[in-house]
Subunit: 222 residues, 2 copies
DNA sequence: CTGGATCCCTCACGATACTG
DNA sequence: CAGTATCGTGAGGGATCCAG
């Protein structure tokens, strides 16, 4: 006993006991976008063993972070959703995700690109001040994933799926991150063929301002 | 290989690969208050095996989160300090700590109470607006630990150790959290004997406003 | 004394198979 | 579809030992 606790009277230690175990944060991440069923969670976490997913859901439920709910009818299915306490993790998950994204390098061939992660990445890096007075809709293609973003006067609405009639359709392989981190300019991105667009080209220039990621960490200095 | 990665192209997954392993976050926490030597870290993390501490420091160094530095002279000792990328974790660690503190119940007899954790807890819960126009100094006693806080016009300076001449000396067993979460009123805390003070009593009332923690999660509702 | 390295043991995790 | 049962492996825990 006491094997999995840190033995400290400390909020951070407690937090890591609650959501620090492997996969737990990613389960929370997927539930941030709404209630999900067991198999939907599996789909969003392709490498998770089912017994681990079971165990995490049980732990999170016991910690009052997740809540099981029986769908009324006619479904009669079980869904998992975040409690209010669980939803309070949202700013943390977003900020932590933006921090981690900075040291993300190009995806391995085996890496999966999940729509939910990209939707949250947009939310995490969205810069409301850069969107003042702007009304625009984007459709993004990243590998096999399609998502969209509506910007209306400082607010963002992002979700999976396409958006017919979007002002700009952006196919960004994985230069998306480079664009958001300011590592390449929009014109460079276009000329090198790393991104392809259809629609209003000036919206590409604004994209990097709307969704801004801090630069990657450097090896040397403090 | 690839056993410890999540196989997702996702900032959060990357973040958990970097700081999600056991003890890693707590090492970062302790380094947030300044460079520390190996043995100082051990002292702040009483239950960590030394091989794990070694391994974590190596991992964090390789991830450009921590940096080894040789102290000039006359010490010639090794210290570990956060890089700029590591310091960027501070708001995350503080917020996550405040979140976790909400589900902290009374400390187990074996739990250690670390000064660093309390200092960061003060920083995490500090409410600058509540400190407008206030100039005050506190000395806090929590179990065997003594720390202090200086408040001057909206800013907080907290550190370990006593502060002779503090405006209010507060000995709060562990009713400290209840006070910060608004679970008990200052007068209740005094009358029940859960906290003892010497100094200006009205500063006790302000304490709960200066350092405010959200209420504990409830079991039932969403 | 600091800053680790080494050994062994245990348990949580991971892969797979199986069940209501 | 929604998990549980089984079992092997490797990371974590704890003690001890060693070099500068």
């Amino acid at each position: 006993m006491a094997g999995r606790t840190y033995g400290q009277y400390c909020g951070l230690a407690r937090a890591m006991e609650l959501v620090g175990e492997r996969w737990a944060m990613l389960v929370v991440r997927d539930l941030l976008l709404g209630p999900k069923r067991f198999s939907e969670l599996r789909r969003g976490l392709p490498r998770i063993p089912t017994n681990i997913l079971s165990a995490r859901l049980r732990d999170l439920e016991q910690a009052a972070i997740v809540q099981r709910r029986i769908l009324p009818r006619p479904a009669a299915a079980v869904v998992y959703e975040l409690t209010s306490y669980g939803k309070d993790l949202k700013p943390i998950v977003l900020t932590l995700g933006a921090w981690g994204a900075r040291s993300l390098d190009d995806p391995q061939p085996n890496d999966s690109v999940m729509a939910d992660a990209l939707v949250l990445a947009l939310q995490a890096t969205f810069h409301p001040e850069a969107a003042r007075g702007l009304e625009a809709t984007y459709e993004l293609h990243v590998g096999p994933v399609v998502l969209h973003a509506r910007i209306a006067d400082g607010t963002l609405d992002a979700a999976e799926g396409s958006l017919p009639g979007a002002d700009l359709v952006l196919d960004a392989g994985r230069a998306l991150k480079a664009l958001m981190a300011g590592e390449i300019s929009p014109s460079e991105a276009l000329e090198s063929g790393m991104v392809r667009i259809t629609g209003k080209p000036d919206l590409l220039a604004r994209f990097g301002d709307l969704f801004r990621l801090a630069p990657a960490p450097s090896r040397r200095p403090s």
